[in-house]
């Protein structure tokens, strides 16, 4: 079972090494990890997708790192998540149209055209990316790169407003 945790850290040198070293030495598996700045230049955000049941331990061990400021587990219903990938698919001229048609349905953009391949870019929820990959697999996937997931908690106020509306109805 994949869990998504959002980790706010001080933007200090080496903080990624501290986080990844902690995962390695405690034997926690990282499925993906994406790091980037936040609106506050002093703070970075890591979105970590982890396997395994030890979520409570993982969160507590993250908090033990001095540069980790806040850790949130984002449950499936309460998060918005996106991933970006580029995938190069076999597409000989005679099958190219077929491949491009399928890609259009998914909203995947062709970003590079080779003699016998097309490379698509697709961003979206992780399951859309997997669905697209399944569709492309029969043509032959030549190369694939994924960014790792990024996620944010949904605005909690939206939920509250919905509940309030429900109560007044």
């Amino acid at each position: 079972m994949n869990h998504v945790i959002s980790v706010l850290t001080e933007n200090k040198p080496g903080v990624l090494a501290r986080v990844s070293s902690m995962f390695a030495r405690r034997g926690f598996n990282i499925h993906s990890l994406a790091v980037g700045p936040t609106s506050d230049p002093a703070v970075s955000r890591m979105t970590v997708v982890v396997d395994g049941p030890e979520m409570e331990q993982i969160i507590k061990q993250l908090y033990k790192l001095v540069h980790v400021v806040k850790v949130m587990e984002l449950s499936g219903a309460d998060r918005i998540e996106r991933e970006i990938m580029m995938v190069r698919v076999n597409a000989e001229p005679k099958r190219r149209h077929e491949v491009l048609d399928a890609a259009r349905i998914f909203g995947a953009d062709p970003v590079d055209l080779g003699v016998n391949t097309v490379t698509f870019e697709l961003s979206g929820a992780p399951h859309r990316l997997s669905d697209f990959l399944e569709l492309m697999r029969p043509y032959g996937i030549v190369d694939l790169v994924k960014s790792g997931r990024i996620a944010l908690a949904k605005d909690p106020k939206t939920k509250e407003a919905a509940r309030a509306a429900l109560r007044s109805a």
Binding site: A17, S21, M22, R25, E56, K60
Partner: protein, 571 residues
């Protein structure tokens, strides 16, 4: 405004933290710091090996509770600190380590004596720094001491490139701490405290499971007060020996792999464990699935990550042992009002019966070979137990922990979590520096002693009169015990020979007094002689039974229901 070199700022920052002694070994990259230390009131103690300097800092911190400080040069100086840092990390000892580093322009160039100290030390410290701006030195040192000594204590390393030490800065006193991600809990949640008191009050077979956190928090007196108030029998782990006096009627001794039958079995039969500053270590629990199967658990720890790591408690309380014990005492007073705590007569009757029927056991044949517990007990008798006892790792450590009656906290210093052989000699030197008026007696094994005895040179040159008993069974005794029990007596690489080195000559060569006892009748007079020498370090060799084994024993991974009390139990 004073302009200082980074090195002078470092020394001034250390003075500002109240440091009175630094254990260290110089070298190229740390050289700039060795100049201003000449003009500082801080005493520098030149160790013979950086590992020794690191354990000295740990021994110092454990004896007096203040932060121990070690410094060393880059490269090998820093890598030699890895063992003491990990040791301090496992046993939550407040230590600040400062290492020189190659100049920032040379970092990553495979420069002479370069090692990636920051990366190497990351997993074996609570936190670490690589300073790249000389102006950061006062604040970084202040943060390092704060981190080392608050919350769950531990080692913090500060890596200082040589050009940073040589740069100039305008001195400023350290400002506000800027650690937004570091907020250790002190007080426990009041509702959880009240729930815990209710559960404790209702329990019929409670056991206080006391760990080293109680010692680190300076909470031994409160612990005793709480145990008495709530009428709770207490086990003290290897790291907590002395947290409640062994002579106290509520004390059950040490639990775990070589614990007393009563301590181990009390936990197995308990309906409630109140763990304070303890971490359900595998040496205590044995097979965790069968550990204390009937017990509900109240777990009090300053480190939230320890709670639920091994065992999910019914009532978790995150907080400092001292603060939470104060809360527990107040809440228990309120709960009891005019009443006394439940008498729990049946439970105490059972415990007393176990104590009577399953005492610690050894036999000293007056014409046989010296038994190590006999030496421990004789030393205790001669000193009235009034000493700081330091041990290495192995059989001698277990026998000392079992047979020395600990009456005070901070009088037992050993390597618990990491199990670092060679810990005793340097840690004893550090302890003696911290507490010069106390008798500091290291009880060491011959295997351990051979790993770090060079620090006795430090002791004799620096006039630090520690005493060291070398329990010479001319073997790596604990390994031998396991080969005997679990490898069909196929002894492999455990024989240390019975004649080399000559410990008396060796002691004298190191500038110490050297004494030897061969026969049980010589134990007491030799100890008396050793205790009478106080102008230099003393090494006393006891030629001990090479075949003796430590019991009780719960084999690694076995259930604590299966205590082996003596060899015959194995059938």
């Amino acid at each position: 405004m004073t302009t200082l070199s980074g090195a002078a700022a470092l020394v001034r920052a250390l003075e500002h933290e109240g440091v009175d002694v630094i254990f260290g070994v110089p070298g190229g990259a740390i050289l700039p710091a060795y100049d201003p230390i000449l003009d500082s009131p801080i005493r520098h103690i030149l160790a013979r090996h950086e590992q020794g300097a690191g354990h000295m800092a740990s021994g110092y911190a454990q004896a007096c509770g203040r932060v121990g400080v070690v410094w060393a040069t880059s490269g090998p100086g820093a890598t030699n600190l890895v063992t003491p840092l990990q040791d301090a990390h496992m046993d939550s000892i407040p230590v600040v380590a400062i290492t020189g580093q190659v100049p920032t322009t040379a970092i990553g160039m495979d420069a002479f004596q370069e090692a990636h100290t920051w990366g190497i030390s990351m997993p074996c410290t609570k936190h670490n720094y690589l300073v790249t701006d000389v102006a950061d030195i006062p604040d970084v040192i202040h943060e390092a001491f704060h981190l080392a000594s608050t919350g769950r204590p531990g080692p913090v390393l500060v890596d200082l490139p040589k050009n940073i030490l040589n740069s100039e800065m305008t001195w400023h006193r350290p400002g506000q701490l800027n650690l937004p991600g570091y907020k250790p809990s002190v007080k426990g949640h009041p509702k959880q405290v009240i729930s815990a008191i209710e559960m404790i009050h209702r329990s019929e077979r409670p056991v206080l499971y006391v760990g080293g956190g109680v010692i680190r928090a300076g909470a031994a007196a409160l612990l005793r007060q709480f145990a008495e108030l709530a009428n709770l029998p207490a086990v003290t782990t290897l790291m907590a020996r002395g947290a409640i006096p062994d002579s106290h009627p509520l004390a059950l001794g040490m639990p775990g792999m070589h614990g007393t039958y009563t301590a181990i079995t009390a936990m197995q039969r308990a309906d409630l464990l109140v763990a304070i500053g303890a971490r359900f270590d595998d040496r205590v629990t044995g097979d965790p699935a069968s550990f204390a199967p009937l017990a509900k658990v109240v777990h009090i720890d300053v480190d939230p990550a320890e709670i639920g790591k091994v065992r999910n408690p019914e009532i978790p309380i995150v907080g400092d042992a001292y603060a939470v014990l104060e809360q527990l005492i107040a809440a228990m007073h309120k709960r009891l009002g005019e009443e006394l705590a439940p008498r729990r007569d049946a439970w105490f009757a059972t415990l007393h019966q176990w104590k009577a029927e399953h005492p610690l056991f050894y036999e000293q044949d007056p014409d046989g070979k010296i038994q190590q517990p006999h030496v421990v007990e004789e030393l205790h008798r001669l000193t009235g137990g009034d000493a700081i006892v330091v041990a290495g790792v192995g059989q001698h450590q277990m026998w000392t922990s079992q047979h020395w009656g600990f009456e005070r906290p901070n009088t037992w210093i050993n390597s618990g979590g990491l199990g670092t052989m060679g810990f005793a000699v340097p840690a004893a030197v550090g302890a003696k520096v911290a507490m010069p008026d106390e008798l500091v007696f290291a009880i060491d094994g011959d295997g351990c002693f051979q790993m770090t005895f060079q620090e006795l040179i430090t002791a004799s040159v620096e006039k630090i009169p520690v005493k060291v008993a070398v329990m010479n069974n001319h073997s790596l005794g604990m390994v031998k015990q396991w080969q005997r029990l679990f490898y069909n007596e196929r002894y492999s690489a455990v024989d240390l020979t019975d004649h080399t080195p000559d410990y008396v000559k060796l002691a004298e060569a190191l500038g110490c007094a050297g004494l030897r006892a061969d026969h049980p009748s010589e134990v007491t007079p030799t100890l008396e002689k050793a205790l009478a020498i106080d102008d230099r370090p003393v090494v006393v060799e006891f030629r001990c039974d090479p075949d003796a084994m430590v019991f009780p024993m719960v084999p690694a991974g076995a259930s604590n229901d299966d205590v082996i009390e003596r060899l015959e139990d194995l059938g």
